[in-house]
């Protein structure tokens, strides 16, 4: 699918400030957390404060994007929030975010859910609306405050954060040349209605799920665009941990240098719907005009969305001084112990609740 002129006008991210290490989580469950962290290539993961959720994270990320791009929020014609941790089962995240950034009432808005790729799916929808001329700006947000069940392997990685992308046709800092998806029915990870924590198929989440979809999708878009890994300065994958994307990258023929900026999970954990988008944001924080970026998202259940992106000259005038650069979120944070983490994440229930 060709981009037809659609591209990224602006972007913003938000990552909660608290961090917990695999070592600290392992200490509680009698697991060698250091080894676990090494195995997953995760040094720390972000933890949302009790007053943060997907709605607040999405709003903060979008406010940064709007400010950086100097965008009039009333010109946003569509706003979609992709997440698997929408605070309401019924009642859109998107309406609250739209209201909080001043984009209401003349826009269409909806919540997306496709495990970790709901945010990239939202970008595709925005591309269609923008390139067809139906709207001036479309906003795609991928944001989550995901939880692993206490003691589950997911607990070492599931974190919180989000990225917001404003898609448009004019003054784009990066052109989306093409997008492609690869979708099958693959039950690797799910959460049933009413359940607090997700379930997963253990090692089944690897080969038949993540790797198959990411590599097939990546190969597919490069074939369609007639490119090879050497044509890209940067590559970003969905990153459920710090190890899968490295392996997927090698399988497709990318080197560590190309993956350098797209990798964020080792320091902030798996932000689910936010992961690929925060990775892309970090690349854009560092990218230079005419550099080419390959993005391959992944969502369990399962599917991959790939994007072939070229940075434009506009990025030289883009105001990076607003908001927090991703790099800073990778380097900084407030370390907490498991007790505070458990309290913050509602794993401790107060009486009377």
């Amino acid at each position: 699918m060709k981009g037809n002129g659609a591209g990224i006008v602006s972007y913003g991210t938000y990552v909660p400030r608290y961090r917990i290490s695999p070592d600290e989580i392992g200490r509680v469950w009698g697991v060698d957390g250091v080894a676990m962290g090494k195995n997953l290539n995760i040094h720390s993961k972000s933890v949302p404060s009790p007053d943060e959720d997907t709605i607040t994270i999405s709003t903060e990320a979008l406010r940064v994007a709007i400010a950086r791009g100097n965008i009039d929020p009333r010109e946003i014609g569509a706003l979609y929030v992709g997440s698997e941790s929408h605070p309401y089962a019924v009642k859109p995240t998107a309406t609250i975010v739209a209201q909080a950034v001043g984009a209401t009432p003349n826009l269409t808005a909806a919540d997306f859910e496709f495990a970790c790729k709901a945010g990239t799916a939202a970008i595709q929808v925005c591309m269609g609306l923008v390139s067809s001329g139906m709207i001036k700006y479309g906003v795609a947000i991928g944001s989550d405050t995901s939880q692993g069940a206490p003691g589950d392997a997911l607990e070492y990685s599931a974190s919180a954060g989000g990225g917001a992308f404003v898609i448009g046709k004019d003054h784009i800092i990066a052109k989306i040349n093409a997008t492609q998806s690869y979708t099958t029915d693959t039950p690797d990870f799910w959460r049933r209605e009413g359940q607090r924590y997700p379930s997963h198929g253990g090692r089944f989440t690897g080969e038949p799920a993540y790797f198959r979809h990411v590599t097939e999708c990546g190969k597919g878009i490069m074939k369609a665009e007639g490119t090879t890994p050497a044509d890209y300065q940067h590559v970003v994958f969905h990153q459920p941990n710090g190890k899968f994307p490295l392996r997927a990258g090698k399988m497709l023929g990318f080197n560590d240098d190309q993956m350098r900026y797209g990798m964020v999970t080792p320091w902030i954990g798996n932000t689910y719907s936010g992961a690929a988008l925060i990775g892309l944001a970090n690349v854009l924080d560092h990218a230079k005009p005419s550099e080419r970026i390959l993005v391959v998202g992944y969502g369990s259940g399962a599917g991959s969305d790939a994007f072939d992106v070229t940075v434009t000259d506009e990025i030289s005038h883009y105001d990076h001084s607003i908001g927090t650069p991703v790099q800073k979120d990778l380097e900084e944070g407030i370390s907490i112990n498991y007790s505070i983490y458990a309290k913050f994440r509602g794993k401790i229930r107060l009486s009377g609740e």
């Binding site: 009790p50 007053d51 406010r63 605070p87 209201q99 001043g102 107060l350």
Partner: protein, 141 residues
């Protein structure tokens, strides 16, 4: 709290909608329909102009709260502050993600969007402003 009671303040709580007196130019938050500065009320009555706060301000006074206001128990200890906004008005709000020992008078802060309270597990969630410390925007490398 009823749904409508919170919902009707959304513009103020989400977006810091304020008002300005056309006579003396003083900005008020929350918005007022009459200016308390201009002694002749008729001058400002029905003439107050809507405006918006930038969200930037600095800490005027602060306290670390150990006995929480109801609904804030999970955040104890939390910092509550009076924040003098760039446009003039002073707001009451929490300062988030900060070691209480770090907080001082004059500290620059900016409004951030957070959950204010939830009406239990099944009720609506109320959102609004809190304040975050302004940290240097550039990464160290």
């Amino acid at each position: 709290m009823s749904v409508a009671r919170f919902w009707r303040e959304t513009l103020r709580r989400y977006n810091l909608g304020a008002s300005k007196c056309p006579e003396c130019q003083t900005v008020f938050f929350p918005p007022r329909s009459v200016c308390p500065q201009c002694t002749v009320h008729r001058k400002s009555m029905t003439k107050m102009e809507p405006c918006q706060l930038s969200g930037k301000g600095e800490i005027f006074s602060y306290t670390t709260v150990y006995e929480a206001a109801d609904g804030f128990e999970m955040q104890v200890p939390y910092v509550l502050a009076l924040v003098k906004m760039a446009e003039g008005p002073v707001l009451t709000g929490q300062v988030v993600d900060v070691d209480p020992k770090e907080v001082h008078e004059g500290m620059p802060v900016k409004a951030t969007f957070r959950k204010l309270r939830e009406d239990g597990d099944s009720g609506v969630i109320h959102y609004g402003y809190k304040f975050a410390i302004v940290r240097s925007p550039t990464a160290s490398k």
